[in-house]
């Protein structure tokens, strides 16, 4: 019988655009027959086809045992096919997953680094609490394998294993920490990576490693690793504020010297997150701070003015963070941020809006709202919702503390009433209604005006 291979299946699906469902059902019936075959090549190809169908949304969990069979083949080609199917489809509910345990144990002991690599990759994809507990010892001993290729994969899989079997972390962490001193830079990079993820969940437990990471900051030249080290140190800062001041200088050095925008940005970003923690106990700033703030502000400004939309976006994100500790530096660049409100890209407009709303003062409120109202006229959808809500939230913040002229605000609210809200009830229209009522109740001076306007509005609507 002529069995279709994967290419035949794909061609067939493409040729049956009108009745794809029927064609695939037929193909699955054929596959079910093929899985009963004694020929391992037929079986492997059948599993290969099933993996493809799973991507299209078909459940293939009924074939799990066949997947295991193919996975345990001595032929590398078939093994890979089986592993891929398992990686894509096995879940904690897959009953036969336990059958993988001893197979993986055996493969971990293979003399071929790629057999080991495939097995580790499999564990990283399908790990369950049982698998993790049972394979913890074997997987962790791979951390000392002769080949860096294996050590790297072993490091990363430990994260998954710890997530599923938390007790494993305490047992194995020392071996992971040792890898920070590995001969191979790729291995050190992976060690940094896994510790970074672990520290994100539990920064306190990794504070003792801070000195080691400081050393890596100044000794490594691998940008990817540096980015992770910077992120890691950044996540430790909230737990140990004294770290914040220590970080400023090394980060500033990197900012001044690196050519890699990704690393530059990460350092600036981490500086902005660390700055709130750099205040000394007596409330003063350390001497390094103003210089570093200027350095970051200058770079972020350049990012925002760059024609590259990605840099523009990241520059705005950086400014949002900087607002928290040094609003004045950001305020000085108000015009540039205002310019971003007219950008075509909605992601950029939203960030600019968020930033501007955080910058508002009594003096600048009316001017800013006028500009935003102008934008409201030409915008639509969820961006318009954001604009309206921002306008109202800025004006009403802290019991209207930024507002000096309620007459002006009342006329703004009335103007907003006359926009087209369509037939759906939106958050903005509800907020507007509440604002109208709230202002009318609180401010006697505008009560007659607003009440009259609301009456006219209702009369107009319901006639």
């Amino acid at each position: 019988m002529f069995e279709k291979n994967l290419q035949d299946l794909v061609k067939g699906i493409r040729a049956h655009r009108r009745d794809t469902g029927d064609f695939i059902s037929q193909a699955i019936q054929e596959i079910k027959q093929e899985l009963k075959s004694v020929d391992p090549f037929v079986k492997a190809e059948a599993v290969r086809k099933l993996t493809y169908l799973q991507m299209l949304g078909y459940d293939i969990s009924w074939a799990a045992f066949s997947v295991i069979e193919v996975m345990t083949s001595p032929r590398f080609n078939h093994k890979r096919i089986g592993y891929l199917a398992a990686n894509q489809t096995f879940t904690e509910e897959t009953e036969v997953i336990l059958l993988a345990t001893n197979h993986l144990k055996k493969e971990f002991a293979s003399s071929d680094q790629y057999d080991i690599g495939l097995a580790i990759n499999c564990l990283a994809n399908i790990a369950t609490p049982d698998l993790s507990r049972d394979l913890l010892g074997d997987a962790s001993s791979l951390l000392s394998h002769a080949k860096p290729y294996v050590r790297k994969k072993a490091l990363l899989v430990m994260y998954k294993v710890f997530m599923k079997y938390p007790q494993g972390l305490r047992l194995c962490f020392d071996r992971i920490r040792e890898k920070l001193d590995d001969q191979d830079n790729g291995v050190v990079s992976c060690a940094v990576n896994i510790i970074c993820e672990l520290a994100d969940k539990n920064p306190r437990n990794y504070l003792s490693l801070a000195p080691r990471f400081f050393k890596l900051l100044t000794t490594t030249s691998n940008n990817w690793m540096l980015i992770k080290v910077v992120k890691l140190l950044g996540s430790l800062v909230p737990e140990e504020p004294r770290l914040a001041r220590k970080l400023l200088e090394p980060l500033a050095t990197i900012i001044q010297n690196t050519q890699a925008k990704s690393l530059l940005y990460e350092c600036v970003h981490t500086v902005t997150l660390a700055l709130p923690f750099t205040k000394k106990d007596d409330g003063t700033e350390s001497r390094a701070v103003p210089i570093v703030v200027k350095l970051c502000t200058d770079h972020l400004k350049q990012f925002i003015m760059d024609p590259d939309q990605n840099l523009k976006y990241l520059g705005l994100v950086g400014f949002v963070n900087l607002m928290a500790s040094h609003p004045k530096s950001v305020l000085e660049n108000r015009e540039i941020v205002l310019g971003c409100l007219t950008d075509n890209d909605v992601t950029i407009r939203c960030r600019a809006l968020e930033l501007l709303a955080g910058m508002v003062t009594k003096r600048t409120l009316e001017g800013l709202v006028s500009k935003l109202l102008w934008h409201v006229q030409t915008s639509e959808g969820s961006y318009r919702e954001d604009l309206l809500l921002k306008i109202m939230s800025m004006c009403s913040k802290d019991k209207y503390s930024f507002l000096t002229d309620f007459q002006w605000y009342s006329s703004v609210l009335v103007e907003l009433c006359h926009l087209d809200y369509g037939s759906k009830l939106s958050t903005a229209s509800i907020a507007l209604a509440n604002q109208l009522i709230d202002v009318t109740l609180r401010v006697e001076a505008v009560r007659p005006y607003l009440t009259n306007q609301m009456r006219l509005f209702l009369v107009d609507r319901f006639n």
């Binding site: 994967l6 290419q7 794909v10 004694v38 993996t51 493809y52 991507m55 949304g57 078909y58 069979e69 345990t72 083949s73 001595p74 032929r75 590398f76 080609n77 093994k79 890979r80 096919i81 891929l84 894509q88 879940t91 509910e93 336990l98 059958l99 345990t101 001893n102 055996k106 790629y114 580790i120 990759n121 990283a124 994809n125 790297k152 994969k153 990363l156 994260y159 998954k160 790729g186 992976c190 990576n193 970074c196 993820e197 994100d200 940008n223 990817w224 980015i227 992120k231 925008k261 990704s262 940005y265 990460e266 939309q309 990605n310 523009k312 990241l314 075509n344 890209d345 992601t347 950029i348």
Partner: protein, 175 residues
């Protein structure tokens, strides 16, 4: 952490789907693919490559970082532990690796050899974390394994019934 890597074409058809943060059933997976496609496809090419998307299956804090090449969107769904610009670079490395493996890769290559695309990705990202960013190292591993692959097809195995062999080895493995 990287939550997923996807390659989706201009019409929303998935060409590669890899979930690192599990989405347990096929319907939910297809729904995530659709949501990602809808959000990404709306954006013209001169917009920035970052989308703070909201994918309910993953909760808050997922960012979609993507690149659009001809007929394909390469989308990486990540959390805040990943470097925004770094991931953009990584997508580039991934595409270059595919280009070397398939010789001027095009969508048809991905359609007919989706498993080989997975094998390349597996040398770069594992368990949601970046394993290797150097393209030469990635290609070396991929090529070594391709050799093992084709070598194994010529492999002669002891001739007894293939079914009993595989059943035997699986069952032996358990006990």
């Amino acid at each position: 952490m990287i939550k997923a890597v996807m390659i989706i074409n201009n019409h929303g058809k998935p060409r590669l789907v890899k979930f690192y943060k599990t989405v347990t059933n096929e319907d939910a997976q297809q729904s995530v693919i659709r949501k990602i496609f809808q959000q990404v496809a709306q954006r013209p090419d001169n917009f920035c490559n970052y989308l703070e998307g909201s994918i309910t299956e993953w909760g808050e804090g997922t960012k979609l970082i993507y690149r659009h090449y001809a007929t394909l969107y390469f989308v990486f769904a990540v959390d805040s532990q990943e470097s925004d610009l770094g991931i953009l670079d990584l997508i580039q490395v991934f595409v270059e690796a595919l280009d070397k493996c398939f010789e001027n890769v095009c969508e048809l290559d991905l359609i007919f050899h989706s498993d080989r695309v997975h094998y390349v990705l597996d040398e770069m990202i594992m368990g949601g974390m970046v394993l290797e960013t150097n393209i030469a190292a990635v290609l070396a591993s991929v090529n070594d394994q391709n050799k093992l692959d084709s070598g194994s097809l010529r492999m002669q195995l002891p001739t007894h019934s293939a079914t009993s062999h595989s059943m035997k080895s699986v069952v032996e493995g358990v006990f």
